[in-house]
């Protein structure tokens, strides 16, 4: 018993050291960048923290980044837990955004009250994402095509589809750019902090995280997904229908990302535009979601914490972009360093242990 406790303590210590080292390396890299771009490290760090957590407006922006990041990361983690690599979060976010916007325009004339309209719109987004995740699922089951490729290719297809809709049929002629008409007021996600500008998306995202936890640990389907992820051959011999599991995993991944896209439209942009999954030149949610899922070890709690840290990083580095001209993509470097460090420490331990 005592040995068990000390073993647990040791694991927790190693865990803490790993993440502290990763954080320190990322910070050091950040400091190098800030100096290279001619900024003052302490001033810049202060700016990052103040603009992401220190003011109500900044905190609201961090929350607004947190909801799509968490949902997108859950979409990746859910797939990875079952041995599926979903690189198509961006496409699924766009598909969800299209679903949300389309539903909002279709139901515009019905004068629905918001408690009905908003859930219907979000459902439209979920369905859009679900469909975008179903395609790689069915292609993998039917034709043994790797979902990695299909999800990547579908990203580009969805991107151009949004480009078409925002420039073509749904274009707002007064905006003069690639942006759709605004969605009706009743389909806009309510604000939680109206003055600071935070919408209710983060609550939905947190509910999804809790839901995924229970699904994974308390349901048969969740058990089957974990079994396939751990060892697909053993799972098949154990009588699990792996094809069915794939057709649960991929569309669910899509639905989660689709919800993220729907929330971005309904809560944040209130119209359909190209920058929904990260504006041009800025980091997109899909790439970040992969890293968050790895750092959070595909565990809903771990993913939630990692997504919160990344949300701070993203909204904080937005301010550095304005003050010292650090490109938005630099945040990818910090994140990649965190991931590589975490993998490095884990892998070295495994290699040593033999």
């Amino acid at each position: 018993m005592a040995a068990g406790v000390s073993e647990k303590k040791k694991v927790a210590m190693e865990f803490a050291v790993t993440y502290a080292a990763a954080g320190a390396l990322a910070l050091a890299c950040g400091a190098v960048f800030i100096v290279a771009f001619g900024g003052d490290v302490l001033v810049a760090l202060g700016t990052v923290l103040r603009s992401s957590l220190g003011t109500w407006g900044g905190f609201a922006q961090t929350l607004n980044k947190f909801s799509p990041l968490l949902l997108a990361s859950l979409a990746v983690a859910f797939g990875m837990r079952g041995g599926h690599f979903n690189i198509g979060v961006d496409g699924q976010i766009y598909a969800g955004a299209i679903g949300m916007t389309g539903t909002a325009f279709a139901l515009e004339g019905m004068n629905l009250p918001w408690p009905v309209f908003v859930p219907l719109g979000l459902l439209g987004g979920i369905l859009g994402g679900w469909f975008w995740g179903f395609i790689p699922g069915i292609l993998r089951v039917r034709f043994q095509v790797s979902e990695i490729f299909v999800t990547v290719m579908l990203n580009f297809v969805a991107l151009y589809l949004v480009d078409y809709l925002a420039n073509g049929p749904w274009n707002d002629p007064l905006a003069g750019e690639a942006i759709s008409l605004p969605i009706p007021d009743a389909s806009v996600l309510p604000q939680v902090m109206p003055r600071a500008g935070a919408h209710a998306g983060f609550i939905i995202a947190l509910v999804a995280a809790v839901g995924m936890y229970f699904f994974m640990t308390r349901t048969i389907a969740g058990y089957e997904i974990r079994a396939v992820g751990d060892n697909p051959r053993a799972a098949r011999f154990g009588g699990i229908n792996v094809a069915r599991v794939t057709l649960i995993i991929m569309p669910t991944c899509g639905a989660l990302s689709g919800l993220a896209g729907a929330i971005e439209v309904s809560g944040f942009h209130q119209s359909l535009l190209l920058g929904i999954s990260g504006a041009e030149g800025a980091p997109n949610y899909g790439a970040m979601a992969i890293l968050i899922a790895v750092i959070g070890r595909n565990n809903p709690l771990g993913v939630t914490i990692a997504a919160a840290v990344f949300a701070v990083l993203v909204s904080g580095s937005d301010s550095l972009q304005r003050s010292i001209g650090l490109p938005g993509a630099a945040v990818f470097v910090f994140q990649a360093i965190i991931v590589l460090t975490v993998v490095f420490v884990q892998a070295r331990r495994n290699v040593r242990a033999g």
Binding site: V145, F156, Y164, E280, M288, V294, G325, L326, A329, A336
Partner: protein, 313 residues
């Protein structure tokens, strides 16, 4: 119909083909050794920024290409370290390298160039028609009136094929990808072969990246690679890890890409087909092709599997 067989369309096809096949050959070498590099898109992006900047500052495209090749090699060696020495999950590490390349490239660019009014440009490589061959009507104009890097891509297809299938070293490399245990037993240093494959394959990936600003755009933009790395990864499967078949695939893809480019440039088509649908074409085509070729495609058997000398299997 004449549009489909236009000579300038075929010329553009060859132009678009070169970066795809160069990256694909690099990836083939890496995968033949038993390592899957899903970070290819990030490595190619790094190659395009270093290639562009060095060409811009030195005025020599050759220096640009060399530095791009070296930078690609360095980033791919990072993958080798994680997959060979640390035996980490190659897909996870590859994705990490993908994002690292995506992030570090615009950062390097901005550091070097700063915030400027007009974006820096390099002159794109000129065509060097080959004497005699280039004068052959049609065929010559398509294949032998191109820039130097296109010729290099022909040469590399032949060279990599010869290396993989006709040399002892190529055989050893393939053995590491098929059955590292057996390779080890006959005295092949699997780890060294895999490191070597990553170092050499990375050179190719870097040059493929440099090609984009040096030939196609003349400048660097954040999304310059635009999925070409992923397409190259797919072409490896399309060609079943055989360079010549990948070359055929690259021609096919480049043709579709060149076609959408040409059609989009014609105003009379814009009214019939929205340009975005044409832009989708290469990616949709890629998925359809994958469905056709993925069935029964046999990868090197040890692909993505780390090799542990001491493990019993």
């Amino acid at each position: 119909m004449s549009l489909l067989f236009d000579i300038s369309l075929f010329q553009l096809t060859m132009l678009m083909m070169a970066p795809l096949i160069i990256a694909c050959l690099g990836e083939t070498i890496i995968e033949r050794s038993g390592i899957l590099n899903v970070g290819i898109e990030g490595v190619v992006t790094l190659g395009s920024v270093t290639g562009f900047l060095l060409t811009y500052y030195s005025g020599s495209a050759i220096i640009g290409c060399i530095v791009a090749a070296l930078s690609g090699s360095v980033l791919t060696l990072l993958l080798a370290y994680f997959s060979v020495t640390l035996r980490a999950n190659q897909i996870v590490i590859g994705l990490g390298i993908f994002v690292l390349g995506l992030g570090i490239s615009p950062t390097i660019y901005r550091l070097a160039v700063g915030v400027v009014q007009s974006i820096p440009q390099v002159p794109t490589l000129k065509e060097i028609p080959i004497p005699l061959l280039g004068a052959i009507p049609f065929i010559g104009e398509i294949f032998f009136a191109q820039n130097g890097l296109v010729y290099m891509s022909y040469f590399l297809v032949a060279a990599v094929s010869f290396f993989l299938f006709k040399t002892p070293l190529g055989l050893r490399l393939r053995a590491c990808g098929e059955n590292p245990r057996a390779a080890d037993t006959v005295g092949i240093d699997v780890a060294r072969m895999r490191y070597g494959a990553c170092a050499v394959g990375g050179l190719f990936l870097g040059v493929a990246g440099a090609y984009l600003p040096l030939v196609i755009s003349g400048s660097f933009t954040d999304n310059i690679v635009n999925g070409r790395g992923w397409l190259a990864l797919m072409l490896v499967i399309f060609g079943r890890w055989v360079p010549v078949w990948s070359f055929v695939g690259a021609l096919l893809f480049a043709y579709v890409d060149a076609f959408q480019f040409k059609v989009n440039a014609l105003p009379q088509f814009a009214k019939i087909i929205p340009p975005q649908f044409l832009l989708m074409l290469p990616y949709v085509f890629a998925m359809i092709v994958l469905v056709q070729v993925a069935r029964g495609a046999e990868s090197p058997r040890a692909l993505t599997r780390p090799y542990d000398r001491e493990a019993r299997d």
